[in-house]
């Protein structure tokens, strides 16, 4: 059975692809699979259940279960049989090949097949939503340019998906309280209790929306904008039946309990009557049929939700009958519209005379719909009447069913009159047209099936009997054409007579008379619901997301002050904790700290007041160098070294960017209250951080873990503990951090290089070499050329590079390491760039920055992976000892390789910044992409 569903999926893609040029061949080929499905189902009918199961996620109890039982056979005959006929019809209906529609129709048939066969609530839900999605495409795809089509498609999608989610919640409630999601197990042992009952109610809501029960029916008439084959298949035969199918499927478990039966009866009766009344007032023939479908689905809901044997028999028979009369009626409207260009009854006249075969087939279908013998509809309605002919409360239901039948008769007559009635307009097209046989034959086939199965209902009985038999003891009532004189036949006659009378009274006029009063209709309810959801979303967004970055930051800062800040103040006020150790506080550890702190704080405050961009950049560098000095005093030479290089590079980077920006900052526009609020928040935040720092440091109860790393580092043979932590003990952190750097490099390139493609080469050629100091001097980026700087660059560049390699190698034992080594190497290229411009940079760089960044990252990962090779963990260092002549024993650790990766990546980052923020921003061709592909 999984194969069958998959075959539909394959055919949905393959058939339109292979036969897309030949619309008729495509339509007929598409019909093969649904027809085969129906034939397979019939061949299996009467035998035992067929099951198949695919374990999907056994640990979660998820399995794709399929089961073919009696009810599934009935549905497959309907889905496959009508589907095949409709697909053949579509081959003649569409003027040009509709690949998307044909493929989606096959996919829909497959989803429907899966839905019917599913023996697991969650699998059923998946197929349920697949039918919803394909219906969205089918409704909207034919004329996506029309607003009405798009709205109808969205409405169908939203309504059925929203209630599908409700249904899913119900499935979960039912499944959890039963302990299984397998439907056959649920039916064998129905769960009780409040949760299961609530779940059943939610499932019913989903089924009501799918089967367009009042008041959730608004999407069905709106969906009539879809092409006729889609309407005939989805909105008569298949998709709307999914809801009543689910009710029929679960009725044996839940009908006897709680509110199941009252809900299905109430929804069914209301839909039956309201749908019939509205149908009686329609001029658009398709909308008339759509409301008729709402009405008929109400009857089906009523019958199949009842859970008794006779009602189930009647419901299953009507399920088939409805497919066999409503689908041809839709198809007939399609033919009429195809031939005359309109489907509005008040503009049609004499169609019946021009297309007599179609009119006959349509009349036969209507006869089945209104329940005339010997059609299948009659057989089903007899059984329906019989099911409720017990007196008591059922009498009210019975009265409703008869009233509904009368309305069916009335709108059936209105349909016939509207579609085929009236004198032929001889002047219009000169009498009888030849009937479009490709379109008429499918109508006739379906209508004839309704006639044949009514006259000889034994096959229907054998199809639906097994399902009904499971619901109760055999009462001796079977589907037959003639039960003898009795209550059912009498009520049928009453319904026919009353229906004819109603038709005569109100149903004959075209266009329908204006209504004096309106009930609130479902379309407006839907519009209102959508409108209010959108309005709510906008209201929330307007208030919460105001789009101002300072305000967002202020909120973040405010929250920091409000939550942890208040807690801190409260705790301090209570005197918790730190008072005892307050005596350990001292002004400074070393006198140098005092001087450096003054420098840092002074520069930071001056940067706050600065009005020029360049001076704030310089003050920032002052802060950085001062902080570096503090690091030295604190006993962190690695940090200080790194920070000093970073500060230098940052300053150069800032200056490179500031070339393109105005000298002064724009004036601050914020008002006085805003400034005060900002300043207050900032001051409070600074105070909070200081208080937090003091409290945290004084509250320490356990000894720091840091010194333990010193012991580990000694075991690893390294002397520089910080470097060993970075490359070895906590190398995974470092790997993550260099990955962040690589991403930042990519981001910089993306931001600077995005834009129009650069002009062809030539502009980049630059001026010829004019000085012997540099390899390829171009225009310096910042000022005129300087011989001193050029000479310095030439002389110092290699020295700096060599020093960076020393830093890299020495990192294990002395201050240094990959980060600072890479930064220092970057400095060498900065020194070449500043006097020589981008041409010099291009000559000096050993490779593309992108290669350096990616290669560095790859090398670091490879060094980590080498730990696996030696049987250890990822990033576990391996020490290699090589004895070389003259040099002696050389000891190399893979952590040096890792550090080399860091070195290359950092060098690549610096090179990236130089080539983008530096070289690419150089005038005149700011968007040059010499270095990056």
């Amino acid at each position: 059975m999984l194969t069958l569903v998959l075959a539909h999926a394959v055919a949905a893609v393959a058939v339109p692809w292979a036969l897309g040029r030949h619309r008729r061949a495509m339509g007929c080929a598409a019909a093969v699979l649904p027809a085969a499905t129906a034939a397979w189902a019939v061949s299996r009918a009467g035998g035992g259940d067929v099951t198949s199961s695919l374990e999907w996620a056994p640990d979660l109890g998820l399995a794709v279960d399929f089961r073919l039982d009696a009810l599934a056979v009935v549905m497959l005959v309907l889905v496959g049989g009508v589907g095949a006929v409709v697909l053949c019809y579509s081959a003649w209906y569409f003027e040009r090949p509709e690949r998307l529609l044909t493929g989606t129709l096959i996919a829909f048939a497959g989803a429907m097949t899966g839905l019917v066969l599913a023996d697991n609530l969650l699998v059923l839900y998946v197929f349920w939503e697949l039918t919803t999605v394909s219906s969205f495409i089918l409704i909207g795809a034919a004329r996506p340019d029309r607003a009405a089509d798009r709205r109808a498609a969205v409405e169908a999608l939203l309504t059925t998906t929203a209630f599908g989610l409700v249904m899913l919640a119900g499935f979960v409630l039912v499944g959890q309280s039963a302990g299984t999601y397998r439907i056959s197990a649920l039916l064998a042992d129905p769960p009780g209790g409040g949760a299961a009952r609530a779940g059943a109610v939610l499932v019913l809501l989903g089924a009501f929306a799918k089967s367009a029960q009042v008041p959730l029916h608004g999407w069905l008439p709106a969906a009539m904008v879809a092409p006729t084959p889609v309407s005939a298949y989805l909105h008569a035969a298949a998709m709307v039946k999914a809801g009543v199918y689910l009710v029929a499927r679960l009725a044996p478990a839940f009908a006897g309990d709680g509110v199941w039966r009252p809900m299905t009866v109430a929804a069914g009766l209301v839909s039956l009557l309201v749908g019939g009344v509205i149908a009686l007032r329609q001029d658009d023939l398709k909308r008339l049929l759509a409301y008729g479908t709402v009405s008929q689905l109400g009857l089906l809901m009523l019958l199949l939700g009842d859970g008794t044997r006779t009602a189930a028999l009647a419901g299953a028979a009507l399920l088939l009958a409805h497919g066999l009369f409503k689908a041809p009626l839709f198809l007939a409207v399609g033919v009429v519209e195809h031939e005359t260009g309109t489907r509005r009854a008040d503009r049609l006249s004499g169609t019946g005379r021009r297309l007599p075969v179609l009119a006959a087939a349509g009349t036969a279908a209507v006869a089945s719909m209104v329940g005339l013998p010997p059609f299948l509809g009659f057989v089903a309605k007899e059984a329906a009447v019989k099911a409720f002919a017990h007196g008591g409360l059922d009498a009210a239901v019975l009265a409703g069913v008869v009233a509904g039948s009368a309305l069916t008769v009335a709108y059936g007559l209105r349909f016939l009159h509207g579609a085929f009635g009236g004198a032929a307009d001889e002047a219009a097209d000169g009498g009888r047209a030849s009937e479009p046989w490709g379109l008429v034959v499918p109508v006739a086939v379906l209508a004839a099936a309704g006639f044949a199965l009514g006259a000889y209902p034994a096959p229907v009985q054998s199809l639906v009997g097994p399902y009904a038999a499971a619901l109760g003891p055999d009462t001796g009532f079977d589907l037959t054409l003639w039960h003898g004189f009795g209550l059912p036949i009498a009520l049928s006659l009453v319904a026919l007579a009353a229906g004819a009378a109603v038709y005569g009274a109100v149903g004959r006029t075209f266009p329908a008379r204006a209504v004096r009063w309106r009930v609130p209709d479902a379309q407006r309810a839907y519009d209102g619901a959508v409108e209010s959801v959108l309005a709510g979303a906008h209201a929330v967004t307007r208030r919460v997301q105001i789009g101002s970055l300072p305000v967002y930051l202020g909120v973040i800062g405010g929250m920091v002050l409000l939550l942890p800040g208040t807690a801190l103040v409260m705790a301090l006020a209570r005197g918790d904790g730190t008072a005892a150790s307050a005596g350990e506080l001292r002004g400074w550890d070393e006198p140098a700290q005092l001087v450096l702190s003054l420098v840092v704080a002074g520069c930071a405050l001056a940067a706050l007041r600065s009005r020029r961009r360049l001076s704030s950049a310089l003050l920032l560098a002052g802060v950085g160098y001062g902080t570096g000095g503090l690091f030295v005093v604190q006993g962190a030479p690695d940090l200080a070294l790194t920070l000093l290089v970073v500060e230098t590079l940052s300053l150069i980077m800032l200056v490179l960017v500031l070339r393109r920006l105005p000298d002064r900052f724009p004036p601050r526009r914020r008002g006085v209250p805003g400034r005060i609020a900002t300043a207050a928040t900032s001051l409070a935040l600074g105070g909070f951080v200081a208080a937090f720092l003091l409290v945290a440091a004084l509250s320490r109860t356990t000894s720091p873990v840091g010194p333990r790393y010193a012991r580990l580092a000694a075991e690893e043979g390294g002397k520089n503990v910080v470097n060993v932590i970075l490359d070895d003990l906590r190398a995974l952190d470092t790997l993550g951090e260099i990955a962040v750097l690589a991403v930042a490099a990519i981001g910089v390139v993306g931001l600077v290089m995005a834009g129009p493609p650069p002009p062809p080469d030539g502009a980049a050629a630059g001026s010829p070499a004019k000085e012997r100091w540099l390899a390829a001097p171009g225009r310096p980026p910042l000022a005129g050329s300087s011989v001193v700087l050029e000479a310095t660059a030439r002389l110092l560049g290699p020295t700096i590079l060599l020093f960076s390699i020393y830093l890299l190698v020495a990192g294990h034992g002395r201050p240094g390491g990959g980060f600072v080594g890479g930064l220092v190497a970057g400095m060498a290229f900065v020194l070449r760039y500043l006097p020589g411009g981008r041409r010099e940079l291009a000559t000096a760089l050993p490779g593309r920055p992108s290669v350096l960044v990616g290669g560095g990252l790859a090398l670091a990962v490879a060094a980590g992976a080498s730990g696996w090779a030696s049987g250890g963990a990822f990033l576990h260092p391996e020490t290699l000892r090589v004895s070389a002549p003259w040099i002696g024993d050389v000891k190399a650790s893979t952590s040096l390789l890792f550090d080399l990766g860091v070195y290359l990546l950092v060098l690549g980052l610096v090179a990236t910044i130089l080539t983008t923020l530096g070289a690419a921003l150089e005038e005149p061709d700011a968007a040059g992409t010499e270095e990056w592909p």
Binding site: A148, G547, G587, P704, V722, F819
Partner: protein, 144 residues
Amino acid sequence: MSGPALVLVAVVAVLFAAGFELLMQRSLIRVVVGFMLLGHGANLLLLIAGGAAGAPPLLGGPHRGRRMADPLPQAMALTAIVITFGVTAFLLALAYRSQLLLGEDEVQDDIEDRRVRAERRRRDELRAEDADPVEEGEAEGGGG
């Protein structure tokens, strides 16, 4: 255990306050400067939370009788410095891009959000358009 030196705590407070103040400004370069000040403050905070000044964490190095400083915060701060550098480069690229596209390096209010604020008016107009008859047969038949 000895706590941090007060003068360093004061420096951290100044760096955080100044950094946040600049971060709240609209000029992107000010934001970058504020971001870097915050970065310095955070690194310093990490470091002095690890304890008082001490000898460099080099095994076998000249300790001159002092206790070795805690190496772990130093390792954290070191990567933080380099990452701040990378992110600063990214922010500067953003500032450049803003200058290129908008002609100024100011942080603007988000255009999308501003449009959402003006949305109510626009939707009212849309609804007026939708109310126009779209197609024949659109008038809903009421019930009786």
